[in-house]
Symmetry: C2
Subunit: 689 residues, 2 copies
Amino acid sequence: MRSFFRKSLALSVVFSAIAAVKFPAESRADEGMWLFNSVPKSQLKSNHQFEPTQEWLDHLMLSSVRFNSGGSASFVSSQGLVLTNHHVASDTLYKLSTPENNYNENGFLAATQAEEIKTPDLELNQLISIEDVTSKVNEAVKSNMTAQEAAKARQAKMAAIEKESLDASGLRSDVVTLFGGGRYHLYRYKKYTDVRLVWAPEAKTAFFGGDADNFEYPRYCLDVTLFRVYENGKPAQIDHFLKMDPKGAREQDLVFVSGNPGRTRRIFTHDAIEFQRDIALPRTMNLLRRREVLMQQYGLAGPEQQRRSKDDLFGIQNSRKASTGILLGIQDPSFTANKKKQEAELIQSLSKDPKLAPLAKAWDQIRDAQVKRKEYLTKGASLRSQLYAKAEMLNLMASEDRKASGDRLREFRDSNRESLEQTLFSKAPIYEDLERVVLADELSRLIDDRGANDPLVVAALAGKNPKQRATELVAGTKLIDVEERRKIAAAGTQAISESKDPLIVLARSLESEYRRVREATESIEEQERQAYAKVTEAKFAVGGDSVYPDATFTLRLAYGKVLGYETEGKSFPAQTTLGGAFEHEKLHLTKDPWVLPTSWHAARDKMNSDTPFNFVCTADIIGGNSGSPVVSRDGAMVGIIFDGNIESLTADYYYTDNVSRAVAVHIAGVLESLRTIYGASHLADEMGR
Amino acid sequence: MRSFFRKSLALSVVFSAIAAVKFPAESRADEGMWLFNSVPKSQLKSNHQFEPTQEWLDHLMLSSVRFNSGGSASFVSSQGLVLTNHHVASDTLYKLSTPENNYNENGFLAATQAEEIKTPDLELNQLISIEDVTSKVNEAVKSNMTAQEAAKARQAKMAAIEKESLDASGLRSDVVTLFGGGRYHLYRYKKYTDVRLVWAPEAKTAFFGGDADNFEYPRYCLDVTLFRVYENGKPAQIDHFLKMDPKGAREQDLVFVSGNPGRTRRIFTHDAIEFQRDIALPRTMNLLRRREVLMQQYGLAGPEQQRRSKDDLFGIQNSRKASTGILLGIQDPSFTANKKKQEAELIQSLSKDPKLAPLAKAWDQIRDAQVKRKEYLTKGASLRSQLYAKAEMLNLMASEDRKASGDRLREFRDSNRESLEQTLFSKAPIYEDLERVVLADELSRLIDDRGANDPLVVAALAGKNPKQRATELVAGTKLIDVEERRKIAAAGTQAISESKDPLIVLARSLESEYRRVREATESIEEQERQAYAKVTEAKFAVGGDSVYPDATFTLRLAYGKVLGYETEGKSFPAQTTLGGAFEHEKLHLTKDPWVLPTSWHAARDKMNSDTPFNFVCTADIIGGNSGSPVVSRDGAMVGIIFDGNIESLTADYYYTDNVSRAVAVHIAGVLESLRTIYGASHLADEMGR
């Protein structure tokens, strides 16, 4: 379910449809989510008189952290302190919470290291190296292969490269598909799986202004949380961590953002965009609104239900609001007209060179792929519930583990086993009543998608209505128990195949259709990969190497200026202050969601009200960048990204720096609040050391 | 827009999927929404030892009132007092409210008749007579006509019958299509258009428990409001009004419900049900959730926005919750299996009689109609906004008024002109900011439905994105002003055709597609009408005359027992009390929406806590019945319908009395609260006199 409603994809930035017309390319000076092995040095030098050294880049890369659950972060002390957003941490805070201790709402502070709480299933990644393996991966694909054969051969090759790297280095090794298939790079990560909660503020300040203020500016949010990574039961010793620069991030300062943007679609051809605009995104939004209303209804039952559903609800509302902005942007006729024009010009350029001309076929291949995508859009044979996801994973595992690693579905490859088990055996609570509600709705959704007479649906319902069937499934399954999952997995493929657990039986009955659809989808993706490889070749040929790939939830470097902006006659300052939070509260009559926690009111006289709190900059970011460190020319930390303004929501497809802004918590605000509000001077002192 | 989200269709009752299997036909003794000219006398006699006289029936019919905005009511005094639900009145309360006087939230009491407030656009109907005109209507249709020709001929004939009746009687005259086309009856109504608000309680008690308690039981809601009808500036003198029986409605009592159920689909063949289940209802729910989330987001902006959107939001949530229940019911495989079996048996019976055998073709015709329906489902060429609805009406009027009455689109027929103008020239406020939001979303929805490259969509957007376009349209139109609408309409067809108002221009550009789709849809409806006429003939032939037609928002008589019930091991009492409301509040920690108004707390010691407040009965009702009087054997009022429990939500397709219940406000609770809480003894005294 997280992959569907991933918060990492929710924070979405950068393209205003109006600006696309008004502002020519040359004004988009700070565009780009650059690979750390391909930084635009000449651009940085000419626009910002800055020349990063390799040492500067390596230090920033090694200080950066990825939350595999969907977000970014950084090391901020030699003793393993990790700083990320509260909304990146909230998934974990929610899993740690109980009816008695609601850490997500009320916050948490470990007075000593002994009090730091171990989290159930976090995996943090530190990127160690990048290697170009494009030719190795492409070698596996022969020209006479069908798309389906090519997808399998390519996947087997990638799994082999990863396994070889894992065995040689002991590091998590992922082959990343860049430029939609134009390049393949091998990313090696050090993994941290013993991650403990150190400090979190109250949700009231982390998400001050709630859904109403989300994607808005000015903001006054302490959207931060501290974790600590451990190795062998002790705080990990970290060589590369960020120094603090609380004075930095002043208007006009050049700043850098190092994080993991989740997904952009800037390479998309206009056919692919039209498919998103007219088919895919409207469907996604229907599903998001469906789940939003479902969670709201579930939460009406009482405060405990509200607690159980709040984190999901917040993630869903976040995605829904982001998607609304993205859709509005690509629904602008001038955007698609502009895109078409650019494509026509590119294809025209290609036609002048007989060697390049055949690349133009790529656009037809992508158009064709969209037709196929449409056909499979409602044909998924899976259910988006936590319990079903476990059942499906266990059931697939039974047959996948009989195959060689390279032949398996990608998530079952040997090099990913540890991460897979981290998810499968997570101790995070699963609530039966919530699962009943979600499963019933998912079964109902299956009917919507396929019609109730579809044999797969008939089998899934087993003669019951969705509600009755969900009740029966949840009552009958034992998968809610982690030990039961371990037992089933450990018992091996034969035992899984013979399991009588009703959810595993259900997953088994959907399996063949699930595999058929997945295979078809992966073939379509391969067709697109091959086509986008050509589009990339064409862009490199015509545009030179000042090209960055679409976001892939891997580490990127973005940069820009700290800069206020004006829109609709209103002007927005580059920074806000701690004191401003109280004014903002007053302006909204201290009504939910504009109620600061009591800790803030108690500390009001102690704090320096003029301390910078939130700020905006022009860096090119998107969902997944949440929690990214913002650093100065000196590589010291000046802030932490937590949002993009509403104008930036279409960054998925286009960047502009007209009024689009990334929104960050100022590090000075973090340090001041730790000291004066949270009685955590020891943490403030540790940061940067 | 009201027709899309009609509250009258929201209150939906009666069929539990489980019960359908467990309980055979003979236990559904109290099934039926009976025509007043075809009451099941033998059934009433044998099951309840009750024989209504014609006088009894006429008095109840003439005491019943229909709210054309979507609900039911009754005359309760000789001086024109009309009692209905607060949630039927809320549309009007909302229209009368201002930021300063929020009658919907805070209630209203006219101390004297002079203080009673005139409502902007209510039309109340009192049914005077019913006449069977089936043969007249069918005469117009010749066997060699296409469906399209037949639809037009039938419509022209109906308009002529209505016009003739209007001219002869001066009464509103509607030809009502019954049994999906099996019968046509002419209904004559006395209209009341000078309707004044007398008393409304606070929303907090009328909708105590909010969306969470909606469709639940036990309930504690004072969901009532009093209006008064005027004629010639004075309270109308009413001959037929209900006496009060505050002692009535005790457990096991036989009670009658006289009201206007909005729509049921019990005649639907399984193909039509499958179309609803797999296609139509899922789409409706997507649209409802879309509007629900949109209104919630709009309301986040502040208390005034919340006030402006609250009534719509409530109606939408009500419909969404009802639709969820309906869908769940028809998603039950045993329901459709049962339906198929019954159909097969009926067709089998027909095949034995050569005269009846050809009727079986009807099922094929209905199946074929569903395929056509699907094709047109997303092809509507209209926008669900208040301003656009006015523009569309004015624009169509321009050409329709050039035609003979019988040839016009149905709503423009002469006999309906007064009602049409009541809507078109309503002084109800239209809020520009809300219209911008709604219109932008509707334009975006048009893209979802047709794709942005559809020529109609391209024309509608005029090169802008939906938000920009909506802003431009609302800024440019003058239709928000009632006088402007009057002026345009009065200037005649030529002036309308030449209007430069951007919304009228937009309506004009969508007009030809609107007409094409409407004509196609009306042809499909005619095809279904002819088929359902055959299905009805088959049912009469096989089942005798103990058959009632599906609901058509016309007056029906239902009956049943006041009866508690048990489900899932819990037992639900037949009645609740005023005192129980305070306990219910306490049980929910006095948190919104379980907060009784201060007037209740202030009057707590004065009131008799044991007074019956809400009760349940087995009568067969559905949305539109809201506000229906519940009367005793003596024809005296014992309560007023306001809801159905969650188990009753599938009444759209099926009735059962297992645990499905209609929920009513007890008249004793109404009278006691008028006297002790609202200081309105004069109204309590007037009621029944």
